[in-house]
């Protein structure tokens, strides 16, 4: 087989896998535009016969999605802000100093990433209820989520800081800046891209979070869209078109952000690795 043919075969395989992976997304959008009877048609229609755009408006008002979406945004923004604020400093220190303690800290950070949310939620719930954090359930979720997203953020941003030469900060020190001043005027601006990309990834992760929100937030008025979607689905659900419309409203903004920024996200993810 020639090299050209091998490349063609590989491209076909890649496209096939991508189609397989993206099909549910496509099916979600298609179903969200169908009528109740169209959903159950055999053979199924791969394009809706007449698009029912009204499904979206209906779901938005009947399910009170405004409140759910707002809560999702509050939780995701809060988590992102807190993670970026605390994680950036942590990542910087882990990038700049090299000794045994730093290695231990890095190991622990990576360990945290391994623990699944469903395992952590019980101790977190008990702990939070002890200190009364369950009275402000969205804050509680933000704190729990921040702890969960932190390792990922720290590892990514640390790589970014490591790609900023230490000599630049040394030059700033000799030029008359303090250690903290050099961090803010040199290291931080140069790591900005990596921090932004990591923050966007954290936002996406927090926006779709389910386990902590479901367990900690009891009141439906404070629940995010992920929990709202779950309560939409019962054992006897047949409103698949409306559920898919809900899901589409939920993921489209975040999907749009990703598509718009994907170039920078990919660049940001590899910038630390290639050096």
């Amino acid at each position: 087989m020639t090299l050209e043919w091998r490349n063609r075969v590989l491209v076909v395989i890649a496209l096939g896998l991508a189609a397989l992976y993206l099909f549910p997304l496509y099916w979600m959008y298609v179903t969200s535009l169908k009528t109740g009877s169209d959903i159950f048609a055999t053979p199924p229609d791969f394009l809706p016969r007449d698009a029912k755009w009204g499904n979206y408006g209906y779901v938005w008002t009947s399910r009170g999605m405004a409140s759910y979406m707002w809560n999702s945004i509050v939780i995701a923004s809060g988590t992102t802000a807190l993670t970026a604020l605390l994680g950036t400093g942590c990542a910087y220190v882990l990038a700049r100093y090299r000794n045994g303690w730093i290695d231990v800290a890095l190991f622990l950070v990576l360990m945290l990433q391994v623990l699944p949310a469903s395992l952590m939620i019980t101790p977190i719930f008990v702990g939070f209820s002890q200190v009364g954090l369950l009275d402000t359930p969205r804050l509680a979720v933000i704190l729990a989520l921040t702890a969960k997203t932190m390792p990922f953020f720290v590892v990514l941003v640390r790589a970014t800081f490591m790609s900023v030469p230490a000599e630049l900060e040394e030059a700033a020190l000799v030029d008359g800046n303090s250690r903290i001043g050099a961090f803010f005027s040199i290291a931080l601006p140069l790591a900005r891209n990596g921090i932004l990309v990591s923050a966007i990834l954290i936002f996406m992760q927090a926006f779709g979070e389910y386990v902590y929100s479901k367990s900690i937030i009891q009141s439906p008025t404070l629940q995010p869209a992920s929990v709202g979607l779950n309560s939409f689905m019962g054992p006897n659900t047949f409103e698949w078109n409306n559920i898919m419309a809900y899901a589409a409203i939920y993921v489209t903004p975040i999907l749009a952000v990703f598509v718009l920024l994907q170039r920078r996200i990919v660049a940001g993810l590899t910038s630390g690795a290639l050096k």
Binding site: P165, E167, V174, L190
Partner: protein, 359 residues
Amino acid sequence: MSDELQIELIDVDKHYGAFHALKAVNLSIRKGQFVALVGPSGCGKSTLLRSLAGLETITAGTLKIAGEVMNAVPPRKRDVAMVFQSYALYPHMRVIDNLTYSMRLKRAPRSQSEAAAKEVAATTGLEKLLDRYPRELSGGQRQRVAMGRAIIRHPKAFLFDEPLSNLDAALRVHMRKEIRSLHDRLGATSVYVTHDQIEAMTMADHIVVMRDGVIEQQGAPLELYDRPSTRFVGGFIGSPAMNFVEAVVAEDRRTLVIEDLGSVPLPGGIMLGAGETVTAGLRPEHLEISAGDGPGLHAKVDFVEFTGAASFVITRGAPGLTVFNVGRTTLRPDEAVRLTIAAENVHLFDRETGRRLGA
């Protein structure tokens, strides 16, 4: 140059964990002096420079700048400027912002810092590049920005960390002259780290040769060339490098016998007994190709290298000798040569310690 001391190091030590990077270093630098620190990689020259800048803290001893003890003073309060090997230009700032960074930190008025930047740009030939970003500059231009960023500060001392090693050969020779003339015009005190002895020889008033964290020898460039105090300095200063051969003092105590090669005259004023073995250092440019029979070193030519203006003749044998010959030699490989050298040009070193013997 005045007699006032600008930088003073007294018994300075630096440890990195178990590694002893600087060992009891003593160095005095006068105001206006251009001092070169040379030595092979890992000899401690960069560590010494970084200690002067305050980027490393010394473990023991005293470090004074302009008479003040600076041991624990942070870099920003030392009033020294540093030019890094990588230039360390701030990539997110334009040239003008790179130049005025230190002034902005001091909250100098904008008009003042811009005027200063213009002046420095004129000195360094950067006038047309002020609005560019570092990534849009060539290597030589970046080098100038790094210099300009130091000049604008009017510091107590300029510290250079191998600033020319990233430039191509022609530009390096040019910048060598430029840095030196800038130093003279500004009346500055400069400490210049390099591993290139030619840079040190051509630029410095005072050369400090370091090895394994110790100062091997310091002095004026020609002093180091004429009277290297150790075998290491002899081999390090001068290009092509000094030839070293084992030599035995002859019965008459007037010549040194070199096994398989012949003999060279023994320099006067050296107390050595007959039969003692020493290391003789013979500079390639001091070896002369002589005609006819007679005393001297007899060897066969291995190969000849021509540089255009001169030729290097390398002889066969366990210690192959390099001979520097002005002009174009007609010698061919395998031809026999007789090499002679004047007694005053023979350097003798102790075989074990490498210390210089005699005057």
